[in-house]
Symmetry: C2
Subunit: 287 residues, 2 copies
Amino acid sequence: MCQLMGMSCNNRAATTFSFNGFSARGGLTADHVDGWGIAFYDGHGCRVFQDDQPASESTLAEYVRSHPIKSSVVVAHVRKATQGDVHAANCHPFQREWLGRTWVFAHNGDLRNLQAPKWCQDVPVGTTDSEHAFCILMGRLRHHFKDRQEPPEWLELAPVLSAITSDLAQHGNLNMMLSDGHALFVHCSTQLHQVTRRHPFPHARLVDRDLTLDLGPLNAPTDIMTLLATEPLTLDEPWQALQTGEFCVYVKGQAVWRELNPETKAFAVAVPDPDLQYRASIQAVAT
Amino acid sequence: MCQLMGMSCNNRAATTFSFNGFSARGGLTADHVDGWGIAFYDGHGCRVFQDDQPASESTLAEYVRSHPIKSSVVVAHVRKATQGDVHAANCHPFQREWLGRTWVFAHNGDLRNLQAPKWCQDVPVGTTDSEHAFCILMGRLRHHFKDRQEPPEWLELAPVLSAITSDLAQHGNLNMMLSDGHALFVHCSTQLHQVTRRHPFPHARLVDRDLTLDLGPLNAPTDIMTLLATEPLTLDEPWQALQTGEFCVYVKGQAVWRELNPETKAFAVAVPDPDLQYRASIQAVAT
C-alpha cells in the first residue's frame, strides 16, 4: 500500500530527521517506490513538495532531507500504487482550498466503489481512490458548514470529520491524515502509530537508517510535538498503535480528541497489480 | 512590483536556463526579493515550488536552477511586495482546482478596491490583491460554465477570460499569467515580452547572468516553444513587447489567440511601502 507520516507541534519544528527515516521506505527499506510528497504548514501558508520518483532516490527528497523546514503541521506520504498510474497528479498529499484555508490529505489503504459524485465541488485531478475520498470528504464539509463565511475550528470539525471518515472507511482501509494547518485529523483502519515528545527530549534512533539524534538541544523545554507514522520511525521511544476505527485530532502537538468508530473494520489488504509488484521488485534490486 | 516568466511548449522542455536568468531578478539584478514561485505542469500533474526568501539566495531556487524539470507549461514569479506581508501564503503562483484541472495564477501589478465577494467559492488564503483577483477570476469562470461536468477547452475559455481580465484591469495594472496545464493565458497592462523559438534554435545569452547556451542540441527539430517574461531574458533574440490591453493564449508553444482590449489602460506604478523599499535596499547591499 503506502505509508504515512505526520507531525503536530506547539512551536514550529523541523522534521528533517524523521523524514530521513521515513523516506527510506520509498525504495530502501520498503518498496513504496511510486512517488512521495510532503506538506509543510507555516501559519496559513502551505508548501507541498512532490515527486513521482522513489523517495529514496529523488533529488527533491534529498533536498527535503537536507534542508530543515520549520513547520507547525506536516503531512507526508510514500506511495505504492494500487489504483492510479505512477504520475505527479497521483502523488499525495492532495490539496484544496476551503474558506481561505489550504487543506491537505494523504491516505494509505485501498477504497472500493468510491467515486466523487457530481454534486462534489472538488473534482479529482488524478485517478486515485484516495483523491476521490478526499473530494467526497471536502464536499461533505462544505455542505455541512455551507452557511459559514469563516472556517470552523477543530472543535466543530472533529465530530463531523469523525462521521465522514467512519463512512468512508466502509469502502476499505482508511488510514489517513488531513489538515487545515491548525489541527491534524487522523483516522486509523489498520496501521498508524503515534508518539508525543516533550521535555526531557530523548536521544532518538531511526528504524530505517543508521542515525541517532539528541533531540534535547534542538527543542525548547516548552516544546511539545506528536509524530505519527504508519510504522514507528524510531527505536527506544514509546510509540503507541492506534486502534481500528480510531479518529484523533492533534492541535499544537497534543491529542485533543479521540473517538472510536465501532463500525470501522480492517479489510484484508488487496494484492497489488502484478505489474506494479514487478516494478517494485525491479526497484528493490536496483537500490 | 514583481516579475513574471512563462513557457508553453509542444513537447516537454526544461526551463533551467531561463529560470537561471529570471531568478537573478530576485535580489541580484533587481530587487524583487519578497519571495518567488514556479509551477511546472506535466500533463494534468502540477507541481509548485515556492519560498518567501529572495530567489537569488533561496536554496530551493538553487535546486530548481540546477535540476531540469521537463514541462509543457511553466508559470513563474519573483515578488516585490506591495500589498500583503512577505510570507509563504503570499507567494505566487496561487493554485485552485476546477473541474478536475489545477489552475495556477501569477500577477504583476497593483490592483485597488478589489476584494473577492462572498459569492466567490474560492477564498484567498493570503492577503494579496493578486489572490483576490485570482479568486474573482475563478468565480466568474465557475459561474459562466456552471452547467459543465467537463473542463472547457481554450477556444471556449479565451473570450470569457479576455472579458474577465479586461474588467480586472480596470482596478490597476494586470500583467498576469494563468494556466490549466493545457493553455497559457496572459494579459498585459504595462510590461510583458514574448519570444517563440523553433528550429534552427539559437545560441541564447542571458541578460541577467554571464551564461550562454546553444539551444540546438537540447531541442528536437519539431520542438516549438514560446517564452514570456516581464523583461526579455536573453540578448540577441527577437523578443516582442505585448501591448497595453493585449490578451493572448498560447497552446503547445504557439500563440493561438490574440485580442486587444481597448478599455485597458496603463496605471502609474504605485510607490512601494517605504519599509519594503528599505528591506529591498538592505538586500541589495547584502548581495
